[in-house]
């Protein structure tokens, strides 16, 4: 047996133990099983990283999963550089968030259940990133979606929570509809759905067209767009983004792990994993880049006006995921994965800090009822401040390096929409810094605006929560140092400082960039400036001239209202999809087709056979002999006719 199998199967074991024995035997000790398992996975993942650093990769099948005719697929594992990065991200975040949950979920009556789901999620996520074929990827993909459903709806007695879980699952199914068809087209094209043969053969069929539902389309574009559907759903990009803000109904550690650091980035992982396919289709790339760019600015503008602390961070996640899509869309897969990796740390940190604030505020989420918390919760304040600096792209912190690389490659890359998405990305950098610090200033600075009772209750969170915060802060600061742009590296005297790009090169290739050093310096300056201006604006509006935001909201009440209502997308779907479907179901199918038309026709057939319709009522005596007699007579007549003709 290979040691790497422990990485997914340890959490699976923990899930089984907790779900079967948690309620009766483990109860308050349930976390031990899950934490030991996921920490074990982390250790093995680090060992795997060391192996991969030596140049070793794995691509093996465990056993045949489905075999039917020429369709054959195994449960199999591919461990290369991309997988390893994901393994480290997933196991690190998962371990820290498991530990944090011990404090956060303390005393909850579903304690064992919570840890069971977290472990199941970790298992599915690891199966997703370690798959060596598309069907197993799909298995992990739906599996993490299921855990997301369970955990969003964790407080299932609340209608809003169970609604949100259901919504997340169903919206994702729309994306998976395309994803599944994509897998089918891949099989029908290549006769296999293992990554390796597909990616090596895709070059040969790239120029071919295929008739899809009557349209002649380029094969690579078709496959890429179908896969993109899945990615859009899972990573909550437009127009399937609606589930993620609602997903904040789940406990905060869940938001941090699933809806920030890991699961929602699976779409980006998919784009990167399938980069050999996407790279062959310019239309699909452009679509990905545009969707990413539009989502990033769309979500950032909504985040400007929201007051729910978790929803702001959720929109921020949407926006940052947009960045990653944008990166992949312009061919900068490495930069996309790099941002995925740095984002996991600072965004998980932001969520956990928000959880810490909620813990102190007894579940309160409204920014307007907070203020001045920094003196009560210094650790939370400091760590959240650093995370916000990181997401704002302040030089030296993790977010700066990855964001800068994306923007530079968008601008200098060969993509036809590169300059456009760069411009949007830069505006978003400004907006991001602004709303992130709006949150910081409204929460931690100024006077406390809540009730006396709440103020009396304010306290710093327990160690099991603050230690993960501090560890994640290390990531939010330093995780970007493995990808310092070579331009900067030369200045500070490190050669090939963008080590990350080199590491990923065998899987994701080297992105094209055409530009002078002067241009690169200039862009870096612009994006830093955008971030700092955003922080400055927030400081002015929320620390100095506190009346301005109110005046602005009144003056531009139309815009404010649209943003406050999230551009009315939920309402749009409700009126164009949900309600019409239900209406048709009730009034057309149930009311007319089934109850009238079909009953009439189908009941008419026996009538026609029976001849005279009035007799039918007599036939329906419910007496079995009568039916048997009719049947026998009929058979006799027909038999006689055949015999005698």
């Amino acid at each position: 047996m290979n040691y790497y199998l422990l990485i997914p199967f340890l959490p699976l074991t923990a899930f089984l133990i907790n779900i079967l024995f948690g309620k009766k035997y483990l109860q308050e000790r349930a976390h031990w099983v899950s934490i030991l398992a996921v920490a074990g996975s982390w250790v093995v993942a680090v060992a795997t990283l060391l192996e991969v650093l030596k140049g070793k990769t794995v691509n093996e099948n465990l056993y045949t999963w489905v075999l039917s005719g020429s369709f054959e697929v195994s449960i199999g594992f591919l461990i290369d550089q991309l997988t390893t990065v994901m393994l480290i991200v997933v196991t690190t975040c998962s371990t820290l968030i498991h530990i944090y949950s011990v404090g956060y979920m303390h005393g909850d009556k579903g304690y064992y259940r919570f840890f069971a789901y977290l472990s199941l999620f970790t298992f599915c996520m690891l199966m997703l990133v370690m798959a060596n074929n598309f069907l197993q990827l799909y298995f992990g993909w739906e599996g993490v979606g299921l855990c997301s459903y369970f955990l969003i709806g964790y407080y299932f007695n609340k209608k809003s929570a169970s609604d949100a879980g259901k919504k997340a699952f169903i919206v994702n199914r729309f994306g998976d509809f395309g994803f599944g068809l994509g897998i089918i087209v891949i099989f029908l094209t290549f006769g296999t759905i293992y990554y390796e043969p597909v990616f090596t053969q895709i070059g040969g069929v790239a120029a071919q067209t295929i008739s899809f539902l009557g349209y002649e389309v380029n094969l690579a574009t078709l496959i890429a767009l179908l896969l993109l559907c899945g990615a859009i759903g899972k990573s909550a990009q437009m127009p399937l983004h609606v589930w993620l803000p609602d997903a904040m109904e789940g406990p905060t550690p869940v938001s941090a792990l699933i809806h920030a650091a890991t699961m929602v980035t699976a779409g980006v992982f998919l784009l990167a994993r399938c980069s050999p396919i996407f790279s062959l289709s310019e239309p699909a790339m452009v679509v990905a880049a545009l969707i990413g760019a539009i989502t990033s600015i769309f979500a950032a503008t909504i985040a400007l006006v929201q007051n729910d602390i978790k929803r702001i961070i959720a929109y921020s996640t949407l926006s940052q995921l947009g960045y990653m899509f944008l990166a992949c869309g312009v061919g900068a897969y490495t930069a996309g994965i790099f941002h995925l990796y740095t984002h996991a740390f600072f965004k998980a940190l932001l969520f956990l800090c928000a959880g810490s604030v909620m813990h102190a505020m007894a579940g309160e989420l409204d920014l307007q009822k907070m203020g001045g918390l920094k003196k009560y919760m210094p650790v939370t304040y400091a760590t959240m401040f650093i995370a916000s600096l990181s997401i704002s792209g302040v030089p030296g912190l993790a977010g700066f390096f990855s964001k800068d690389e994306i923007l530079w490659l968008a601008y200098a890359g060969p993509s036809p929409v590169g300059k456009f998405v760069w411009a949007i990305g830069t505006i978003v950098a400004f907006l991001t810094a602004f709303y992130s610090f709006r949150l910081i200033f409204l929460t931690f600075h100024g006077e406390f605006r809540g009730t006396h009772e709440q103020e009396h209750h304010l306290h710093e969170s327990p160690k099991s929560m603050t230690i993960p915060l501090m560890l994640l802060t290390v990531g939010a600061v330093a995780s970007g140092w493995v990808g310092i742009p070579n331009l900067l590296g030369e200045v500070i005297g490190i050669e090939h400082s963008n080590w990350f790009s080199g590491f990923m090169n065998p899987v994701l290739g080297h992105p094209e960039a055409h530009g002078t050093h002067a241009e690169e310096w200039m862009l870096m300056g612009i994006s830093v400036l955008a971030g700092l201006t955003g922080i400055g604006f927030a400081a002015v509006l929320y620390l100095v001239k506190k009346d301005i935001p109110v005046t602005l909201a009144q003056k531009f009440s139309m815009i404010y209202k649209v943003l406050w209502n999230k551009y009315y997308v939920d309402e749009l779907y409700s009126y164009t999809i949900v309600r019409p479907t239900l209406w048709i179901s009730k009034n057309i199918l149930m009311g007319i087709t089934d109850a009238r038309i079909i009953e009439l026709i189908v009941n008419g057939v026996p009538r026609a056979i029976g001849g005279v319709s009035q007799h039918l009522r007599k036939v329906q005596t419910g007496l079995l002999q009568h039916y048997a007699a009719i049947m026998a007579t009929g058979a006799l007549i027909i038999g006689a006719w055949i015999l005698l003709r």
């Binding site: 489905v66 007695n157 087209v185 029908l188 006769g191 079909i598 049947m631 027909i638």
Partner: protein, 511 residues
């Protein structure tokens, strides 16, 4: 004639058919007042039957398409009617499913049936014998006998032990199926005379029939099978029958009875009328896709638990017929597997509904809410069945549906695409159902319910195991089908030369 193999030293199929019937006769001699003995006798008979059926799973030779465990005796020599039974890769799993489901039905009826107990269990056991007979019969007369014999106990189960509107539902069920069956009987008689007076199914399959005759007979058989499946638009009896039937009736209906229609297509329509089947493919695919989407959309607005699951059966059986008429390996194998899967999943869903119905005596969804809080173990089991029903990977539903959509897409792209929409809507209605029954605030009407007892838990456990077993490691089940299905497709596709190799076909279309 096919070569025949015998795997065991004793007539296993006759044992399986007649042991339950003998059990039913035994029940006749037990005094009516001794309910406990009646129940235990039925349970023991059904368990023994199941244990005796296990050799079918372990001793089946997967390397051949020929009939196995064959028994052949003259019965009515003057008409050349034989007692001729055997199994191949298509039918073997259904016999196993029937023997398993009967045990669960006995268990679930333990406390639910309080009147005419003796007759109830007699009906269940006769039902079991007849169902196994249908899947084993290799002589058309014998097949038709079992096929019709099955109707009577089912009719009684609905009509005697059913809900308030049971008479209407029972008569509707009986008339629908009877009309279809009579047309099939005509078809059988025509075949009998055309082939030189034989009811031997294997012999009839080895002949070729003129195209026009094939088309007529295809539709005659279609009438019987489509009603049973049920295919759109012959489905309206199913919601009524399911809603009114007692739990055990619904379970047998969902798990085994409606599979017989699809089984009929595979056993008779395709091999007897290959050219007609191929020609009718577009029509069959259209009907299948309509059933999938129509059944799913109509589920959204159901207010009755059992009616919702009944309509979901229409949708899921649409997948089955889609797979069968895709006429390629993945489609047909997926279709057969999905028949088993649907039997397990929907059988389990009806068992579960029976468990809670026994406590609340209401089927209205609005009467529930927050059940997960009061019955956590039950809620967990129901969640497993829900997930299997919406085809989540690692459950059996996924394997079947994926293969079917793959096969359907390869046959006709639109069929695969439209079928896939059924999976989205499926998630919609099942999760909504689950939310309304199990989540949200506890409805006062269910606040006092007790969780499942050991007997009820025991009835669900085999289904849960099978759901994950087939979902994670389907090879032992798909393995039964490979040889039989490839032989069947060879016969269907002989007219056009070779079996359609899906991958090659599409590469050609790419050019």
């Amino acid at each position: 004639m096919e070569h025949i193999t015998t795997n065991l030293g004793y007539p296993i199929l006759s044992t399986l058919i007649f042991l339950p019937i003998a059990g039913a006769v035994l029940l006749l001699f037990i005094r009516r007042s001794n309910a406990t003995l009646i129940k235990w006798t039925s349970l023991i008979v059904s368990v023994i039957t199941f244990i005796l059926s296990i050799p079918l799973f372990t001793h089946f030779d997967k390397s051949t398409y020929t009939m196995q465990f064959v028994e052949k005796h003259a019965w009515i020599p003057s008409w050349d009617v034989m007692y001729y039974v055997g199994l191949d890769g298509i039918s073997v799993l259904f016999v196993l499913l029937s023997t398993l489901v009967t045990i669960l039905c006995v268990l679930i009826s333990w406390d639910a049936i309080r009147e005419k107990i003796k007759e109830f269990y007699i009906a269940i056991l006769i039902m079991e014998g007849a169902m196994i007979g249908v899947f084993c019969a290799l002589d058309f007369m014998l097949f038709y006998l079992f096929w019709e014999a099955m109707l009577i106990p089912m009719y009684l189960l609905i009509g005697v032990w059913g809900g308030p509107n049971r008479i209407y539902a029972a008569v509707k069920f009986f008339l629908f199926t009877l009309v279809g069956s009579v047309l099939m009987l005509v078809g059988i008689i025509v075949l009998y005379f055309y082939a030189g007076k034989t009811f031997n199914i294997l012999e009839l399959m080895s002949m070729t029939y003129p195209y026009t005759m094939q088309v007529w007979l295809f539709w005659a058989f279609f009438a019987a099978f489509a009603v049973k499946v049920p295919m759109f638009p012959m489905h309206t009896w199913l919601p009524d029958a399911h809603t009114e039937a007692p739990t055990a009736g619904s379970v047998i209906l969902a798990a085994v009875l409606i599979k017989m229609g699809a089984y009929g297509f595979l056993r008779f329509s395709l091999p007897l009328f290959p050219e007609a089947s191929k020609a009718m493919t577009p029509a069959m695919l259209v009907l299948s896709v309509i059933a999938i989407v129509y059944g799913a959309v109509i589920c959204l607005m159901q207010t009755d638990l059992k009616r919702l699951i009944a309509y979901s059966s229409v949708s899921h059986m649409g997948f089955v017929t889609l797979g069968i008429f895709a006429l390629n390996t993945q489609g047909v194998e997926g279709g057969i597997l999905q028949m088993i899967n649907h039997g397990i999943i929907t059988g389990a869903l009806f068992l579960s509904i029976g468990i809670i119905y026994e406590r609340t005596h209401t089927r209205k969804i609005a009467d529930y809410g927050g059940v997960a809080t009061v019955m956590p173990v039950y809620a967990a089991a129901f969640m497993v069945f829900t997930l299997a029903s919406i085809g989540l990977p690692a459950t059996n539903g996924f394997i079947g549906e994926f293969l079917i959509i793959l096969g359907g897409f390869a046959a006709r792209q639109w069929a695969g695409v439209l079928a896939a929409t059924g999976i989205i809507i499926g998630a919609g209605y099942m999760l909504w159902l689950y939310q309304r029954v199990f989540f949200m605030e506890v409805n006062p009407k269910v606040a006092e319910l007790s969780d499942m007892n050991g007997r009820e838990f025991l009835a669900l456990i085999p289904m849960i195991i099978l759901i994950f077993w087939i979902g994670v490691y389907p090879t032992p089940f798909l393995g039964f089908m490979h040889e039989t299905v490839s032989h069947l497709l060879e016969r269907v596709n002989t007219g056009s030369g070779m079996e359609i190799k899906v991958a090659e076909q599409i590469i050609e279309s790419i050019k």
